[in-house]
Structures are given as structure tokens and as C-alpha cells.
């Protein structure tokens, strides 16, 4: 067996994209595209806010509505997309 590559992560000068954790990516994504904003504005919390916001995002993107930060949801958040929020605020 060949030795697995020992990946070293380097911060490249001038690189705008910072290495974010999946949780940071999700929080940033849900806020940027209006999912969290709505939840707060409505004020009627029927579930934990991030869970509900994730469900909204999963429904918008045609993913399985689990309310969890699962793999397919994270991958979807990394996909290139339009900057207009999905939920108008």
C-alpha cells in the first residue's frame, strides 16, 4: 500500500476564501441567503432556529429535509451560485 498523503494546509497570500468549519460555513450561508433572517423575524419558533432554517434551505435546494447539517447539505452550500438571497428579507 502507498503511504497516504499527509496533507498540509497552507494559507496562501491574497486568498479571500478562509478555511471555514462546516458549522461556520452553514451559519454564514443560512444568514447570507435569508434563511436565518426570516426565522428571527417571524419570532414564532416551532423548532430550533438553525434546524428550521436548514429545513427551509434543504427544501429550496430539493434536498432531503432532515434539518441536519448532513453531507449533501454541506456540499450544496459549497456549490457556486447566484448571490440573490433565497428568502427575501
Amino acid at each position: 500500500w502507498s503511504l497516504p498523503l499527509k496533507s498540509v494546509f497552507v494559507t496562501f497570500p491574497g486568498d479571500i476564501i478562509k478555511n471555514m468549519t462546516d458549522t461556520e460555513l452553514a451559519e454564514n450561508y443560512l444568514k447570507k441567503f435569508g434563511y436565518m433572517e426570516t426565522q428571527k423575524r417571524s419570532g414564532f419558533q416551532s423548532m430550533t432556529s438553525q434546524e428550521k432554517a436548514l429545513k427551509m434551505m434543504q427544501r429550496q435546494m430539493g434536498l432531503e429535509e432532515t434539518g441536519d447539517l448532513d453531507w449533501s447539505t454541506i456540499e450544496a452550500m459549497k456549490r457556486p451560485r447566484c448571490g440573490v438571497p433565497d428568502v427575501a428579507n
Binding site: 417571524s42 450544496a76 447566484c82 427575501a88
Partner: protein
Amino acid sequence: YQTFEGDLKWDHQDVTYRILNYSPDMESSLIDDAFARAFKVWSDVTPLTFTRLFDGTADIMISFGKADHGDPYPFDGKDGLLAHAYPPGDGVQGDAHFDDDEYWTLGTGPAVKTRYGNSEGAMCHFPFTFEEKSYTTCTTDGRSDNLPWCATTADYGRDKKYGFCPSELLYTFGGNANGAECVFPFVFLGKEYDSCTTEGRSDGYRWCATTDNFDRDVKYGFCPTRDTAVIGGNSEGEPCHFPFVFLGKKYDSCTSEGRGDGKLWCATTDSYDDDKKWGFCPDQGYSLFLVAAHEFGHALGLDHSNIRDALMYPMYSYVENFSLHEDDIEGIQYLYGSKTGPDPTPPQPESPTTDSYPYETDVTEETTEPSITTTTRPVDPSQDPCKFTKFDTITVIEGELHFFKDGQYWKMPSTSDEGPEGPFAVSGRWPALPAVIDSAFEELLTKKLYFFSGTRFWVYTGQSVLGPRSIEKLGLPNSIQKVEGALPRGKGKVLLFSGENFWRLDVKAQKIDRGYPRYTDAVFGGVPNDAHDVFQYKGHFYFCRDRFYWRMNSRRQVDRVGYVKYDLLKC
């Protein structure tokens, strides 16, 4: 499909646009063409026309920019956000912005249009062979003047067809030098430059002087991107240098080592370890045509769709043979109507072109009047609606608010401030209906009345009735216990509410539109998502819960919260 709050749209059909600046990634004629084709996607299915302006203010102002480009929504470097656009209106409204940290192509790698040579501006053909060697990029091989060129057919040796590739040695764009090529070296602020630079600019665009002294002549232009140049990083415009050393190891091709996101990069000098100069390797890039067609959908009034194959779906995916999805067509025709004239586009095939309803003749469920023989339940005149905390349903029929409760209803005359009239027996006017009505609405076009109770619905046309029928016939799921509210939206569309979701019914087609259900509070934020009554009255949406109502204006802003009994029933 979705539209913006208040169905924002242009109030004229001859829409104008203007291209304010260009990306260095594609020759400007390719960019012009991509935008023109993107507008044609929408003009092909609507009465809209798109006219390009070359100065002044157009409805849709188009520009490229990087990171913070002057509006409150900065872009984010390569990938991620690709572009954004604003709904129709004045000022920045209607404008479309494209992230120039992206690599703009036609979706299949560098889009290289040649100049001069003998190919009349044809595109490079990759790969091509030249002197027994295959090339997948432009090359300076075979030339002493260092100008990059390519063949415009697969085999230069056989066809001898070629053209010169975009490079700062051939031309510049923008600036004030009428497209003249760069002169190297040139002097800027006393310092000599022998390549394009971003010095002196805050927008990150590479430029050069077109004479040997910018300080003296102030002549300049922007440098086109070479197809071999890296994207982003800190050496934009420079080609990869192979081999290069990274963490002591030699690389002679692009690598994703050192990155957590898997993106391919290369150094632009022989040692990243020493010089730290790098950039992302050219990839397929993003189709400017596809992204522009999507953004122009926003600029015309369409919001994001959750139908994966629709153009207005928010995520990018490359499609080779593009055709507009029926969801996009229905959405844009909802706003602007279908195309008229020599090659009209018929309304969507699912919706019948006649006014007759496509009822199935399922005899077991349907009855027609007057065979219904019910006895009118006596009303209890002593019942005071002002004492109720909650009604079965509240709706508007013939312009008047109707309050239903336990087989009786009250009416609010729209012309006077008197209290409610009634009670009247539901069975007296609509004999087929049960005592408890969950929701009801009047179809604006045909004046038909729809009544819902549990999982059944009735349709009254004057005194004739069809039903009860199962709400599944309308395409609602069998998981629904009851329809709690209905909002007629005009043009044959009605929103039906149940629990924390709502569906959009196409009344003519008798089916639920694709892309539903949606979360109520995703669209109607600020109202309770378990309202037991939803109706529209005098241009406002009303969401009721217990004794209270939340009133929303056409821009979906809650502008009032009050008591049903005092404000609506005038108790």
C-alpha cells in the same frame, strides 16, 4: 417559480440595457453576444424587447466587479457567489453585477476568439496540432515576436488556418488608448514596469500604458487575460511556471496540495517556497451566457425557483444545449404574458386553452344541484358573533367579509360601518355544505365559490354545486388534515394554507404548481405559521390566530396587528 414581493416588474415592454465595463476573460464581442443571447432567452417567450444603450441610464445596467464593488453585497473571490441582480425599479434596481474574480467563459474552458491571422476572428480550436505536437492552449512556438497564436482548425499543418490570441501585446480594452497594445517597459509614478500591473488601482484590474511613459502621456488600457493565465491568487494574469517547488517538492502540473478545498493551483515562479507567488489554474470557467440569463430573470422580476432544472434555480450548473424550463416560462409569462405576433408562444401545455374546467367525470363523488335535498338548519338569532374568540373561517364573497361558525355565517356590509348582518344558515344558501367550513374563497375570474371542510371541497357556481370531492383531486397531499386559508392571487392562482406550509393552486388547470409546498414563514415572514384563518381583504392579507389578526400589505410587510372582533367585526 417565485416573483418578488408585490410582483415587481417593469411597467413597459421595451426594456433597455447597457454594458458598463468588461471582463478581461473574454473578448468584448463575445461578452456582448453572451448578454444579447441571454436577453433573447426571455424575449423569445414574452412581448418584451431588449434594446442596448451605449450611454445614459438604461433599465438594466450591467457591470463586472470584484469583492466590494460598491453595493452592500460584496463578492467573495473565485467561486462561491458568481453574480447577483436586483428586481425591476429605479436606480440600482434592475441592475446585474458579475463577479470578476470568476473565470468567465462559455462554460467549456477558455473561450478564445482570435484576431488578425487568416481566420476572420474565428475561435481557437483546442486541441490543435502544430509540427507533430498537440496544443490545448495558445502558444508562442514558431514565432519570434512572442505573440501567442492558435490554429482555428484541428490541424495547422494541413489547413494553415490561424489567428492571434488575446494578449496585452496585441491589444488592450477600455481605458483611453482605443485598444492600442501595451508598450513595455513603461514608466508609472517614476517606476518602470515590464508587464501589466494592478498598481494604482483599487479594483484589482490589470492595466498597462500604451506609450513608454504613463506619467507623461497618461495613455492606458486594460490587459486581456491570456488563456494560460492563472485566476485570482496574487499573480493574476501570469502563467503557471512549471516545474515549481512547493514545500520542498517539485510539481510540473497544477496541484491541490496545501488546500482544503481541492482547488487546483500553481506557482507563477519556479519556487512557491521562496516567492509565494500563486494563482488558480484555468478550469472550465462559468458560462457567462447561463449566469447572465439567470440574473436577467431577476432583473425582470423572477425570484429563485426550487425546481432543480429551472434556469432560476439558485445553483450554477453547466448545460450544453440550453432551453428554458417550463417553470421559468410560466413565471415570466405570469408577469408579462406570452409572446404575441408572428411566432407567439402558446400558454403552457398543461393549462387547457379553453375555459372549460378539466373535471373528470367521477360520478361516485360528484353531485349536481338541485338533487340535493337537505333541510335548512334553523339559525339562532341570539348568537352574538362578538362573543366568539374564533371562527371556522373568514372569507370575502362578493366583496363582503363573511364569518362562518357552526353552520351559520354573518356578513359585513362593505358599504356601511354597521355591525355584522346575520346570522344566516349556511345550509340556506349553500345546502350541500357541512356545518363546519375550514376555508373558502371566491375565484375572481369565474366567481365560483370554493369551500373546504376537512379533506373535501365543494365548488358552487351560482346555485349549482360540484362535490364533495377529495382535495387530493387538486393535487394536495393526503397528509393534509384541512385547508385553513386561501389567498386568491389573480391570474387564476390561489394560495392554499395548511399547517406551516402553503401550496399554489392553478385553478384553471385544477392542479398544484410545481415547487410547492413552501414554508409560510419563508414567504410571509412575521405572521404566525399556524394561523387558523388566512384571507385577502381590500388588498391586504390577513392571518388570524385566536382573537388576533396580523395584516400584511402587498409588499408582505406586517403593517398592523389587531383584534378580529373590534377591527373586522366592528363590535
